[in-house]
């Protein structure tokens, strides 16, 4: 285990004692605390015929290094890389007996589970939902999803700085593994697949992948997977693709080091600001880079049985995130926050789709 330099041990001892004193009533009132970290990182996609990546392991390990160190209060629950990352790691065994998420991505006692690797953007099995290429001026015109490839309602007359308005439809989203024991072709379909995170396991899932969500389907894409996680953080591409950068995870964790009573959700959004503006292509009209090849956003979605409950998860700090007593009881309401790498004028509230 790495030892952080410049620790003021006396301060830490006092902190620990003080936190223990005040955390006793919190624990008894809100249940157990989860302080584990799970990291699954894939660079080598040779099992899936590539293309392989270069920075996923560095990215996942950066998150791990900046979260787990002596006296950090966090501990490692699981770290898997390359072909030891299996699609079964993400699957709920109660829904599919091949699944083993409770030993891996959704391990009990875990606060944050971080996956870094490929997602799916524009082609089968999970396209962007815009295959019909029907241009539009209103969402009401989007009535013909290509159901043969999985497109379905709702539709959206979606646009971005890189795309003229065209009809796009809801389509499953997923992460890609390249494991030696994959059982579902390396496709982790968290929209419709046997995925339930947070039902006794992790409190936060981070999907550091391409096209984790596509606008405007932030609720539909994640409702299925949201079974008790306080929030899910991922990437929403608005034109272009995600850049495979080495520092997204480490930067996110750095916010906890700096101030554990800051919002976790905002920390994920602000992570993108530290990533170089020149790494990745530009976004027309200004912006781009910061972890994207084009236009994109870091997004966090929280769900619960009430909108107030969902909003409350967004306000959680890094200490709250550990509290299993805060686990949502349902997923019928959502709150979504995101930050995009380009400017949108505040007088233009359409942002994504033509109504």
């Amino acid at each position: 285990m790495r030892t952080h330099k410049n620790l003021c041990n006396g301060a830490l001892v006092l902190t620990v004692i003080a936190l223990l004193i005040v955390s006793v009533p919190a624990t008894s009132a809100h249940g157990q605390r989860s302080t584990g970290i799970v990291v699954e990182s894939v660079d080598n996609y040779s099992v899936r015929n590539g293309p392989s990546l270069s920075n996923s392991i560095a990215n996942g390990d950066g998150f791990l290094n900046n979260m787990v160190f002596q006296d950090s209060g966090w501990h490692l629950n699981a770290r898997w890389t390359d072909n030891l990352v299996w699609d079964t790691d993400f699957i709920d065994a109660s829904l599919d007996p091949r699944g083993d998420d409770t030993s891996n991505f959704d391990l009990p006692g875990t606060a944050i589970s971080y996956f870094t690797g490929h997602g799916f953007c524009h082609t089968n099995p999970m396209g962007d939902g815009c295959s019909t290429q029907q241009s539009c001026s209103t969402t009401a015109a989007c009535t013909t999803p290509n159901t043969s490839i999985g497109e379905r309602f709702p539709g959206s007359c979606r646009f971005s700085p890189m795309d003229a308005p065209r009809c796009c439809y809801m389509m499953d989203r997923g992460a890609a593994t390249s494991g030696s024991n994959d059982q579902l072709s390396g496709i982790v379909d968290y929209t419709s697949g046997p995925i339930r995170w947070g039902n006794g396991g992790t409190n936060m899932a981070v999907l550091d992948i391409s096209c984790g969500i596509l606008p405007t389907f932030w609720y539909q894409a994640l409702q299925n997977a949201n079974a008790g996680v306080h929030m899910i953080a991922t990437i929403m591409v608005a034109g272009g693709d995600t850049s495979n950068v080495a520092d997204r995870g480490a930067t996110f964790a750095m916010f906890d080091q700096a101030y554990a009573l800051a919002r976790v959700s905002t920390s994920w959004l602000e992570t993108m600001v530290f990533l170089p503006a020149s790494e990745g292509g530009s976004c027309p009209g200004g912006g781009g880079g910061h972890g994207f090849n084009g236009c994109g956003c870091n997004i966090v979605v929280a769900m619960d049985t009430t909108v107030e409950g969902a909003v409350a998860h967004m306000s959680e700090d890094w200490v709250d995130l550990q509290d299993d007593g805060r686990d949502p009881r349902g997923n019928s309401f959502y709150d979504a926050l995101w930050q995009c790498n380009y400017p949108l004028n505040s007088t233009n509230q359409t942002a994504w789709e033509l109504p």
Binding site: G10, R48, G50, A258, Y334
Partner: protein
């Protein structure tokens, strides 16, 4: 829970008794060697971030922090990166609509950082990011219209002809010009890095030298750019590294995915930035070299009991991947 939070804050203040045994980086200009470029160290005195009444200095986890009821101003004792963050449950941290347009926000943030002390001649530009939110419920025919909550403006750094993409200064301001959150990492750049950058630029300027320099750069990659790269803000361990680099962007996508993207005119594929030093040798930045395998070796992984046992050399079900 609010009461519990207050207790936590008080607990953290208690640790201030043992504060400041490590020297905090001195705010202001960071000197460089002769011919190098100075850096800038942000400090609470230069900041428009408010931590609140009775804030205390706390040293923990390698950071020096001014912690108050409204938030914390934290400075890494390792590399000087400064972060000002609101308390999750304080008023400052709540969503606040920002009525001005992003250009005005950019102007305000630019003026703020120049006044604070960032050398004006090192600022290449400023750009805005947009914060949005949406709430809703199951069964809605359409997603609720997103609301713009504010902006973050980001300063880009340049020294002479060379961008320094790992340096950054950003801030989110409220309507009154107060800082809601900010982050600054603007280290000094040694003369050797600038000399090397000029060397690469000179090499690329003549045909014979260019061929010689590019011999290690894969021919299929698009032309790159001469930049100064350094350890990222998030590198909270290891020595500071800086190098002049010919940065080239590589796009990685499966043939199937590339064909579809090309046919539809969309930009497809995950991109990776590759770095070539003044000798044309490919380098990896410290943040790209991380590998925790030594500290956390992967144990033998067991298959879930219900899965069928797969022979070691048996073919695995395969589907082409798209980024």
């Amino acid at each position: 829970m609010i009461a519990c939070k207050n207790q936590l804050w008080i607990a953290i203040l208690l640790t201030g008794i043992c504060a400041a045994s490590d020297p905090q980086p001195k705010a202001g200009i960071i000197a460089s060697d002769a011919g190098g470029a100075v850096g800038y160290q942000h400090g609470l005195k230069q900041s428009r971030f408010v931590t609140g009444k009775e804030s205390q200095t706390v040293n923990e986890a390698g950071w020096s922090k001014q912690v108050g009821p409204e938030g914390a101003f934290a400075t890494s004792l390792h590399n000087g990166v400064a972060l000002a963050l609101p308390n999750a449950h304080a008023q400052l941290g709540r969503k606040s609509e920002y009525a001005m347009d992003p250009d005005k926000h950019n102007d305000e943030v630019l003026k703020y950082f120049v006044t604070a002390g960032i050398p004006r001649d090192q600022i290449a530009g400023v750009h805005a990011m947009t914060l949005l939110s949406s709430t809703g419920r199951r069964g809605e025919a359409r997603a609720s219209t997103p609301k713009i909550d504010g902006y973050i403006s980001v300063l880009e750094r340049k020294i002479g002809d060379y961008k320094v993409p790992d340096s950054v200064a950003w801030a989110q301001m409220d309507k009154g010009g107060n800082v809601i959150s900010e982050g600054i990492y603007w280290p000094a750049i040694p003369a050797s890095a600038l000399r090397d950058a000029k060397h690469i630029k000179d090499m690329l300027a003549t045909k014979a030298d260019k061929i010689k320099f590019l011999v290690h750069v894969p021919a299929e990659l698009a032309p790159g750019e001469v930049v100064i790269r350094h350890s990222s803000a998030a590198m909270q361990q290891g020595p500071f590294e800086v190098l002049a680099s010919y940065d080239v962007m590589e796009r990685r996508t499966s043939p199937e995915s590339a064909a579809t993207a090309s046919a539809r005119g969309v930009r497809e594929g995950s991109v990776i930035m590759r770095h070539f030093d003044s000798d044309g040798v490919e380098r990896r930045l410290p943040q790209e070299r991380r590998n925790a395998e030594k500290d956390y070796p992967s144990p033998k992984k067991t298959r879930p009991a219900a899965t069928h046992v797969q022979q070691k050399d048996a073919p695995v079900d395969s589907a082409p991947q798209q980024p």
